[in-house]
């Protein structure tokens, strides 16, 4: 299948070569289809690649410019991530989606120096949301700190608006990724008066007996989870084992795919998580996806991931990349955009509900509007819940807004520290 796709790319490259010389739009995909995190890496990489294939096959590329996707295997390993970055950046890569907090941290200074934008969609360095400091880094549609405050807000609404004396536990991957929300949750606990219980789980997270024993002992009212990979499955299974009420167990958007909930069987029923995009394959775009990509034998992977949470997430990442490229073409009046132009396009990105409908994705995701000051997007989220009988996620709330008065000062503080450490001047005329 992959060979067929390559042959197709080669063929299109040849036909293009015959006509006027068009440069292709290069999008690297730093994926991980091997290693301990592969079950989560595969659907995302498939969704990301398939959306680009769809644009190529159906529309003949972005505004007629063909897309060239270069995949590179990172195995969620930072050393390989750097190798991937260095090997693909020379090909004219327009935007990097590192898909790992560790790789993102390494690439932030490198890509900034090379003038290539990074889109760490809902992960990576939270304070990169401050566009005044991080010119080339974007993390729309939301950050971990947004997510933490949205979850707290949701819990508060469940509890009738009062969290005083409640106990909330955070089960987190003991790494940069898992530690991200702690500051925010501590600030929020001062504001709302709940007690915060921190429970780290070491990589890869297969051993959580003691963690959940502690939860059984401490009896928190709610448990939040910042996990990834096998850690999610184990946590959900352990929670089911101690009969923790599943609807009081809420994960971040990376702890909520089918891979995480199905292994626990009926025990996972009612598990909740925050998300920023729709679930399932009940969207008009899927008809095209099946027609132009899957049935044509051009799917990136085995083609069995359509409609899963992480496939949809890969697709939404690709959709924003395509829209940003379109915007960049519009701003600069050329179809052969450079990474710098792509950055301008990302900064001017504005994908609202009307545009989503045109793309065949009505109600699929939150409206995103990026500006020079804010690279973090709207910071909106929804809560989804798992139905173990139907083996399906369903969205159970409307859009919830992040607690800006808590999150924004934290972003300011952290990004300013980075700016002074690295002698960066503030942009955006202030």
């Amino acid at each position: 299948m992959k060979l067929a796709k390559l042959a197709a790319i080669a063929a299109t490259a040849l036909t293009i070569g015959a006509g006027p010389a068009f440069a292709e739009l290069v999008f690297p995909s730093l994926s991980y289809r091997t290693g301990p995190y592969a079950p989560n890496g595969i659907p995302f990489a498939d969704g990301y690649a398939d959306y680009f294939t769809l644009i190529n096959e159906r529309d003949g590329g972005i505004e007629g410019q063909k897309i060239k996707l270069i995949e590179c295997e990172t195995g969620y390993n930072t050393e390989k991530g750097v190798e991937c970055y260095e090997s693909t950046k020379g090909e004219g890569a327009l935007v990097y989606q590192p898909l790992s907090t560790g790789i993102t941290y390494q690439l932030i200074p490198k890509a900034t120096a090379d003038h290539i934008p990074i889109h760490s969609m809902g992960y990576g360095r939270t304070s990169a949301a401050n566009g005044k400091v991080f010119e080339y880094v974007f993390n729309y549609p939301g950050t971990y700190w947004d997510a933490a405050s949205i979850i707290v807000k949701y819990i508060s609404s469940e509890e009738g608006g009062d969290l005083k004396g409640k106990k909330i536990a955070l089960v987190y991957h003991n790494s940069a990724y898992g530690k991200e929300p702690i500051r925010t949750l501590e600030e929020l606990s001062k504001k709302h008066g709940y007690e915060l219980l921190l429970l780290p789980v070491d990589h890869p997270g297969q051993e959580q007996k003691s963690t959940w024993l502690q939860i059984r002992k401490e009896r928190p009212d709610y448990v939040m989870m910042w996990g990834w990979g096998v850690m999610n499955q184990v946590a959900i299974q352990e929670a089911a084992n101690i009969r923790f009420p599943m609807d009081h167990f809420i994960g971040v958007w990376w702890s909520a795919s089918e891979n995480d909930t199905i292994p626990a069987g009926d025990g996972a029923d009612g598990y909740k998580a925050i998300t920023f995009h729709g679930v399932g394959d009940d969207f008009p775009i899927y008809a095209d996806m099946r027609k132009y990509v899957l049935d044509a034998g051009k799917a990136a992977g085995a083609g069995d991931q359509l409609g899963t949470v992480l496939y949809n997430r890969g697709m939404v990442a690709a959709m924003w990349a395509v829209e940003a490229a379109r915007k960049a073409m519009e701003i600069h009046g050329t179809k052969e955009i450079t990474p710098e132009m792509m950055r301008d396009g990302m900064e001017a990105l504005d994908v609202g509900e009307a545009r989503l409908k045109e793309l065949g994705l009505p109600g699929f995701t939150v409206p995103v509007k990026v500006s020079c000051e804010s690279h973090g997007g709207p910071g909106l989220g929804m809560i989804q819940q798992w139905d173990a009988k139907a083996k399906k996620w369903s969205i159970i709330t409307g859009l919830i807004e992040a607690d800006r008065e808590v999150v924004d000062p934290l972003i300011m503080e952290d990004s300013q520290a980075f700016a002074s450490e690295n002698n960066i001047e503030m942009r955006c005329g202030s």
Partner: protein
């Protein structure tokens, strides 16, 4: 033919005992050094630097260090990742705490800090041996990683526990950060590896090295002939940790620029470096370099061949690469249990006699 030894006389003890006793080999050595130090910097690019040469040099440094401990002194250690972490975090604290300090001084100091930590964790080696010592050093691996993850002082209370190397210059060349020139970082790392490989070679054939080897071969006999096991074991731990600490320092500051202890310095690192010296050759300086090249460069080469050149899908290429490297490791261990360096020694002996082997 390749070795023309006619007329290569040695008239002094000194010239007979030199590292490269054969004239043509000495010539080859200096030619290689000239090539890597004078020619490579002119065509090095970002990819060669960050994905090929610096990784090789960093791991070569770590392998040299571990080889001193295991290959020369016979003390099995699985704490390499932890000691690299000490080097990296020492560098981070020195870089952020003393901004005026020049980079080479920071790296050397990080080496000394790691050496002192190494001595502490080397103390059990006075009582326990072999596999049991391996388990004791394994404890140091887990303890050190836990420590750097647990105590916020080590990562300057950053929200995530990630450490990031700020940009630093030395003699007008930027060495760390995103704007560092590939040739500058390459020569910086090459300098360290060259100097310390030289030092290691001379340490191992001097008094200290002979004590280490005596301990390795039979510690009771060594003690009876007057070798102090305390001094020689602890000095092996100190020197080895010094090298590994420098490797960790270069890994963090020059190569990756950012690190997170659980991900970068986990147990896998310890095993990787151990495999390097076993495949390259225990008790051999050349073996450390060959082993590092084998483990670091072969996967990169294969990724380039399978995924980029032949256009295979990335996961098949990755799985092929893992399989082939594994098969090659087994092949080399069966064909030459003493490592590729020993293979090279055998070939050299044959070449010296060729074409008249009898």
């Amino acid at each position: 033919m390749l070795y023309r030894e006619a007329g290569d006389f040695k008239t002094t003890y000194r010239s007979d005992q030199q590292t490269f006793p054969i004239k043509s080999e000495r010539f080859l050595f200096w030619a290689v050094i000239a090539l890597v130090a004078l020619a490579v910097p002119f065509f090095i690019n970002d990819y060669l630097e960050k994905a090929v040469l610096i990784p090789f040099l960093v791991y070569a440094m770590a392998a040299l260090g571990l080889n001193i401990l295991i290959g020369y002194c016979g003390q099995v250690s699985l704490g390499t990742g932890g000691f690299m972490a000490v080097g990296a975090y020492a560098t981070y604290k020195l870089m952020t705490g003393f901004e005026w300090m020049p980079m080479p001084v920071i790296i050397i100091l990080a080496g000394f800090i790691t050496a002192s930590v190494g001595i502490v964790f080397g103390l059990p080696s006075l009582r326990i041996k072999g596999f049991y010592l391996a388990v004791a050093t394994l404890a140091s691996q887990f303890f050190l990683v836990w420590l750097f993850n647990k105590v916020p002082w080590f990562y300057n209370h950053s929200a995530t526990g990630q450490i990031t190397a700020p940009p630093r210059e030395f003699l007008g060349f930027t060495l760390t950060g995103a704007n560092a020139e590939p040739y500058a970082t390459y020569l910086f790392c090459l300098g360290f590896v060259f100097v310390f490989a030289w030092v290691a070679r001379n340490l191992t054939r001097g008094r200290i090295g002979r004590q280490w080897m005596a301990i390795r071969d039979m510690d009771i006999a060594a003690e009876i002939i007057g070798v102090n096991p305390l001094m020689s074991k602890l000095s092996a731990f100190a020197v080895s940790s010094f090298y590994i600490g420098i490797a960790g320092a270069l890994y963090f500051s020059v190569w990756t620029g950012a690190a997170e202890v659980t991900e970068a310095f986990g147990i896998d690192k310890s095993f990787d470096v151990l495999f390097m010296i076993i495949i390259g050759g225990l008790g051999s300086i050349l073996g450390s370099l060959i082993g590092a090249a084998f483990i670091v460069l072969l996967p990169v080469l294969m990724t380039n061949i399978f995924a980029r050149w032949l256009g295979m899908s990335t996961e098949i290429a990755e799985h092929m690469q893992i399989t082939i490297v594994g098969v090659l490791i087994i092949f080399f261990l069966i064909k030459e249990p003493h490592g590729i360096a020993a293979l090279w020694r055998t070939i050299k002996e044959k070449l010296r006699l060729w074409p008249f082997p009898h």
